[in-house]
């Protein structure tokens, strides 16, 4: 649907309630940065929309938290149901990746001892690179170049900063997530692209805003 500028203005309310269709949402978000009145109004109406949520919110009874917490101690965790998991999840965490994750934990130890403790599976590529802030990362890639595990031993960051991981190709950088611990599973790392790590504000960014502390090429 093609919308005139005036029609855009009327969409502020629906936008604040997240009630636009996907294509209008896109069009409106393109319009928003260029229209100060719309931008100001959306900000105000969003606050109002928040009040709608509060109007319906009920405070749970005080004892509910205690009951829920008590129940978690008594309740055994359910076993996994492999046959019912969505295909996507199964693909991402299937055997080879779990094996890689296990291998990567070993690799972290290996990096610490500067000696590789385990032999990687045939065709699996293992590369370790030092970073500009000290420490090192290891990129382990399956032969298909579809799945990878990045392990890291990096200095801790000040509050409000995180390590963000990127897959960088000819089309630019796309975020692969945050390194909150020492291991990050990546999916879709094509040969010839690079895996990089940057220091970003907490919450992450859409595109890297600092120079990567390390870049590891994905082998062909």
């Amino acid at each position: 649907m093609k919308l005139a500028r005036d029609e855009m203005h009327v969409l502020t309310g629906s936008y604040a309630l997240d009630a636009l269709g996907p294509r209008e949402m896109e069009a409106f978000e393109r319009h928003l940065p260029y229209c100060e009145p719309c931008e100001a109004e959306v900000r105000g109406l969003r606050e109002t929309a928040t009040r709608l949520a509060l109007a319906k919110a009920r405070r749970p009874p005080a004892r509910m938290q205690q009951r829920v917490l008590a129940a978690t101690y008594r309740t055994r965790q359910l076993p996994p149901l492999p046959s019912q998991r969505p295909a996507e999840v199964r693909r991402r965490w299937s055997g080879p990746v779990l094996a890689l994750a296990a291998a990567s934990v070993a690799a972290v130890l290996a990096v610490g001892m500067t000696r590789l403790a385990t032999q990687p599976r045939p065709g699996v590529s293992v590369q370790t690179a030092r970073t500009s802030v000290g420490g090192a990362v290891t990129l382990i890639v399956t032969p298909s170049r579809q799945d990878a595990v990045l392990t890291a031993r990096l200095p801790s960051l000040p509050d409000g900063r995180i390590y963000q991981v990127w897959v960088i190709g000819p089309a630019g950088a796309r975020s692969a997530g945050f390194l909150s611990g020492t291991v990050l599973a990546l999916s879709g790392v094509p040969a010839g692209e690079r895996v990089g790590v940057t220091v970003e504000p907490a919450g992450g960014t859409l595109q890297p805003t600092t120079t990567p502390i390390v870049l590891v090429p994905v082998p062909a």
Binding site: E7, L11, A19, L20, P37, E41, R51, L52
Partner: protein, 72 residues
């Protein structure tokens, strides 16, 4: 910032509310927000035109802070 212009624009949209408009505002917002519908889904539910629904949602939200007694 062009504040007076924005206020004027808001005032124009709110001053003309009739009782029927108020019902449409409330129902449009109820269906869009609590019902999780997009406004093109709301319009046929209320038998209203698309443009009417977007306008009523916007007006209803604009006037809401003035109507603290209203129970949604």
């Amino acid at each position: 910032m062009n504040r007076p212009e924005i206020r004027q624009w808001r005032a124009e949209s709110v001053d003309t509310d009739s009782g029927e408009d108020l019902d449409l505002q409330r129902e449009s917002i109820r269906l869009a927000y609590y019902g999780g519908h997009t406004y093109p889904q709301v319009a046929p539910l209320l038998g209203a035109a698309l443009g009417t629904v977007t306008a009523r949602i916007r007006e209803g939200l604009i006037r809401m802070p003035d109507c603290t007694e209203v129970t949604w």
